[in-house]
Amino acid sequence: MVKEIKARVSVQVTLDNSADLTEEEKKAIASALSGTLIKQMTLDSLQGEPGATANATILHDMIDMHHHESPHTPVA
């Protein structure tokens, strides 16, 4: 129990210290933590039952909309 309290106190102090980092240092850390994406998908598609929303939106997510914006304004 004593150990746990010590740990919490220590963490309280260190969490307050994050302001010591410069923007460059934060970027370097973020980069060192940034893994290689293998796969990303909506949880809906994991369920195996693509409903109407999934049907309509999965390709939306895949297809770059830049080319399809104004004046090709989407109207559902």
């Binding site: 220590s10 963490v11 010591d20 004046p71 559902a76």
Partner: protein, 648 residues
Amino acid sequence: MHKHPVYSAPQLGVLVVAGVFRELGWKVTLIDSNREYLHHLESGGKIEDFCELFCTRLAAHAPDLFGFSSICNSYYLTLSIAKLLKQKSSGSRILLGGPQASATAAATLDLCPEVDFVLCGEVDSSLREFVRYCDTAPERVPGLAYRRDGAPLVSAERVFPSIDKMAPAAYDLWDMSLAENIPIEGGRGCPFSCKFCSTSVFFGRSYRIKRPEQLIADVIELTARYGIEKVSFVHDNLFVSHRQCEDFCNAWLAERALARIRWSCSMRVGFVDEELAVLLSKANCDGVFIGIESGSMDIQRTIAKRIDVDQAVDMIRALARHGVHSTAAYIIGFPEESPDDFALTLETYAQTLRISHCKSQVSLLAVLPGTGYSIEDLTLDGAHSNISHQGPPLLPEHAAVVRSSPLVFSGHFAPRLRHLDPDRVAETEFVLNYSFSVFRWLFVFLTRSVEGGIVAVLNAWLSLAPRLKRGLDSRFAYYSSREFQIDFLRFCESPPVVSKLYATFLPLLRFLVEAYSQDEDYSKALKSAATQEGSGPAVLNPSVRIKVVSHSFSEIVAMLEGPELIVPPERSARIATYVRDNDLIVEELTPLASAILEAADRLPEQLAETCATLLPPALKGSRKAALNYCLRELSGKGLLHLDEAMTA
């Protein structure tokens, strides 16, 4: 309403029109039918009930005028809503605008008596005339389609307004708190006239671009107003020359207020060299949309696009070398396309597919009214209607309306292909887009390691999959389901693939299939997950699964991007599967992330010691602060669960 990349994106077209109405002194209410539709489905509503409920809501406003924007593939819904609305609010008049209504104005009035007017083309200056004369002298309104004695008439020539005299878009009518990116109008029109494209039909070949200082002033004002640091310039070809692009980038770099703002645009291939790629990167260009369309130079000439395909791929590589993302867009299913042309497009697609900064995407050709493709020879085969990937499945009552008028709904019809099997072409679109989306590097690996490349891989898939001869909705349902994902992984290890694979690559194939299978029984794992106890500052989020694997995925991606396939040696690595927001993510962890996740529940001193050698060198701040920042980052990604009491 959650942040959805499509449903949250401000729709610039209607916001511009709303701005014009405001300048005329009207009170404008904007109702976003996309969001209404999503909300309807998320609340458990049925697709077939949407139009009725939506119209009841609209009719309650009882305005003088309802205005609808329009695009090709949701046009049947626009007309359905107009029809119902007229029944519910007979005192209101209905005005349509936008590209689809403009290109089919007279036919629309013929087909849909409930529509009173179509105001064709750009309405910036004609709207004023419309408000003044629509009842008394409609012939005086430029580009107005109306009825006289029941017969549709379209009035005189359209007007192409000057880019300097346009009303500001009414962004305040949109819920900008949901937007991640501000679309800003870059100008209008295109100097080219590609055979398949409707841009020149709508805007004429009147190429108008805002001056760099105007664009930059818009960016500064809007990003400050909404606190959003990303903008996209909306224009089919923002830059068509080296000089023009260079001037813009230099103007951007001269403005300190833009240091954190990133931007994207669409531009023509042919003038971006290494020097300009460096400049674009320095000027925070984050993404470039490039319409390659076809890998065949013969088709390039036929469709009057005439870009040099090799030059386009070189440009994408140059942009990638300097960290600029791109989208390479292709069209398949041109009536003139031969098997050789088709293969050339596939091979070009395979080249851009392996450039990690580039997103490759494929669309079937849709014949748009007013373009160089005739609507005389079209078939309603159920495989089309996806040019803009918009809208719900076509309901039977809507299908009947669509079938009744190929002229109005040509985007839903397939053109007759002279040399290709339309079902194979339609299926190819799905295979390419979904394998890119779900199995990108596995698919790249196949296209590079199987004898015959991408054409052989596709032929093998199509010969195994008894899925041809089905309609668009069935393809959507199959390719967006787990069934496709399971089938594709099995296909990768099936005899037609393995027999054509060079033997050296078999272990890599097995590794990649394993890497992409990480989520196979993830749902079960999620249900049995329980929060862990620890004595340290954080514990692994119970939804995270970490697996040790035999190769480094990132090293294999680097190999696949390179010119030669040299198999990297085995090296232990860790793959995490986890959930962030509503997304399932499979990711190879960096050594630092792995070390922290494995030791996060230990005492801070032990954790700091474990990670000391993996933190970036030359950190000026304290290691404790660095470690805390790591914990916050990993918590933000959904990998760690921090003790809220301690962070308060």
